[in-house]
Symmetry: C2
């Protein structure tokens, strides 16, 4: 049997383009002992992938994607077609990390590169399968752990979420609202700001492209903030340092403003505020909390089933749309979780 997969063919010089990828048809091997063959249904498009599209990934991060090979470490949900592994049967919905391809052959029990999507049967009796690429997967874990554990959200905290219309940010913002906090969101278009206010019900929101970030934040949170959720870095982080009150905390999960920036990344010039106001900046990666996935899925799953969470997706159809979906997401053109459906 043959199937298609996406290969990276060149490390982009600056901005990623669809030309950096190629869709290749390959022979799909029959599953060996302890392996299953999965027909993939949904594959993920994450900002963090950008960091692996370079010959040198940041030290400590996941390794670069090798050129001209199938891409590993991307959460994907599919249906078991054939199984030689105990506990997996044809028709089971599973997740794994062998993404951006139509069929994957996955060995049971081998930890996924991202620590998260090790081959597992998913319960899709109450939620659609693609929820596991979003709120019940890595996005949910990153949001949940970042807010409740890394930032240590407390009652009464005023929370600012950057990229709040994005996959992780929209979850963080809603989790904080469900916890009873005042939540400010920022995003990069009037349409996104309307989404934050009208659909997510945030207390305030601003468009960071309309004026300097610090000004938008000051208008939305004149008294300052206690928690900042950072997926953006750069000017956003600087604005947060200026607004965080004594004892404030920032959870640093990404720096999308810096991934394709000209020149060296910009460090916050006002980092001394950390000392002055006794702030904590804590970087983390959701995947490193994979031992808490069960707890997250239970709590977030209950919110989902109860209809307490707005879950927006930007869906592309077909494997060949995957590279453009990434380009579009990095350009800030998508809302919610960017995801590719494999028909």
């Amino acid at each position: 049997m043959r199937g298609r997969e996406v290969h990276l063919v060149a490390y982009p010089e600056r901005g990623v383009s669809a030309d950096d990828f190629r869709v290749v048809e390959v022979e799909v091997a029959a599953p060996g002992p302890n392996q299953v063959l999965v027909r993939n249904l949904w594959t993920s498009v994450d900002p963090g992938l950008r960091l692996r599209l370079a010959a040198d990934a940041p030290p400590g991060y996941f390794p670069p994607f090798p050129l001209n090979q199938a891409m590993d470490g991307i959460v994907t949900v599919g249906e078991v077609v054939e199984s030689n592994a105990a506990g997996f049967a044809p028709g089971d919905t599973v997740w794994h990390a062998a993404g951006w391809r139509e069929y994957s052959v996955v060995e049971a029990g081998v930890p996924a590169l991202n620590g998260l999507a090790t081959l597992r049967v998913l319960d899709v009796s109450k939620v659609p399968p693609q929820a596991y690429v979003g709120p019940l997967g890595g996005m949910g874990l990153t949001a949940y752990m970042g807010l409740f554990e890394v930032a240590g959200l407390k009652q009464g905290d005023v929370v600012w979420v950057s990229a709040a219309a994005g996959a992780v940010g929209s979850l963080v913002a809603q989790f904080a609202k469900l916890n009873g906090n005042r939540v400010i969101g920022s995003a990069g278009s009037p349409e996104k700001v309307a989404f934050l206010l009208d659909e997510l019900g945030l207390d305030a929101a601003f468009d960071y492209k309309e004026r300097p970030v610090a000004e938008g934040l000051a208008a939305a949170a004149p008294e300052g903030i206690d928690v900042y959720f950072d997926s953006v870095g750069g000017e956003h982080l600087e604005a947060a340092l200026g607004a965080l009150r004594h004892g404030g905390r920032a959870a640093l999960c990404g720096a999308i403003s810096q991934y394709e920036a000209d020149g060296p990344p910009r460090g916050p010039a006002n980092l001394f505020q950390a000392t002055s106001n006794e702030l904590t900046l804590r970087g983390y990666r959701g995947s490193n909390f994979s031992d808490r996935i069960g707890e997250m899925q239970e709590r977030v799953g209950a919110w989902l089933v109860a209809g307490d969470l707005v879950y927006r997706e930007t869906v592309s159809e077909g494997l060949e749309s995957t590279p453009l979906a990434l380009v579009s997401m990095l350009a800030g053109e998508t809302i919610g979780k960017t995801i590719v459906h494999l028909p």
Copy 2:
């Protein structure tokens, strides 16, 4: 009775100079009800004072020193001359925060500006009085809390201490050695590096002026570090971010390299390492841990009395030497605690 005090007469444009200060002779008021008159013996010269020599102090920090007034918020040790306050008698050694003057009139029970040196009788039976301006005072508290609480020092952690020949750094480095850790120190002259190796017994030390900080650090800690104690900021912090291993922690207590820098302060360009390696950067001020001063004094006092701590001072004689002592310390010319003796 008359006594002299130091006034700030101008906020320095760039580097501090002794000309920014004036020594003024004033009438010393007789102590009122609940007040004591103290003849000061030792007054402190701290890097953090630099931040208050500006019309705008960093938000959240102590306020600027007003011009043409006695300076408040500087830990000082002296002897009670006259007392109208219960619990204080002539001859008692006390500390208070009404520094940089020969005589202070201090009201009992009024919290000091820095939260720390509220008027209190000191036990000088086993340590010299000036220990309370150093290891048993704010310097000790900053070092102790920064290392054990803020950075959460653990067995096996490799520790890098910047400004390790300074008042706080030399304590941090020794506390970590007493805890059994491998400790690397950096400082800005061959003489200081010799002090770190020969007198403090650190495992490795380097002169950050000899080559780029990151290179010196890599040579001293080829396997990386787990804890970074930052009093310097700038290039030092950037080097630490590049060397901190997964889960590493940085305690940010100051940024002396930035206080008199040209242009805006330099934020670390590699701050994304915090996310990549799940690092925690936590800013703090020792004085905000004043509720733990008793615990610190007990533990550090025991080390002092046992002779386990090397305690170096750079002593200036006479109130009029105070401004130059500050200039000299900011220029990196002093070793250990910079302190002024009032004869």
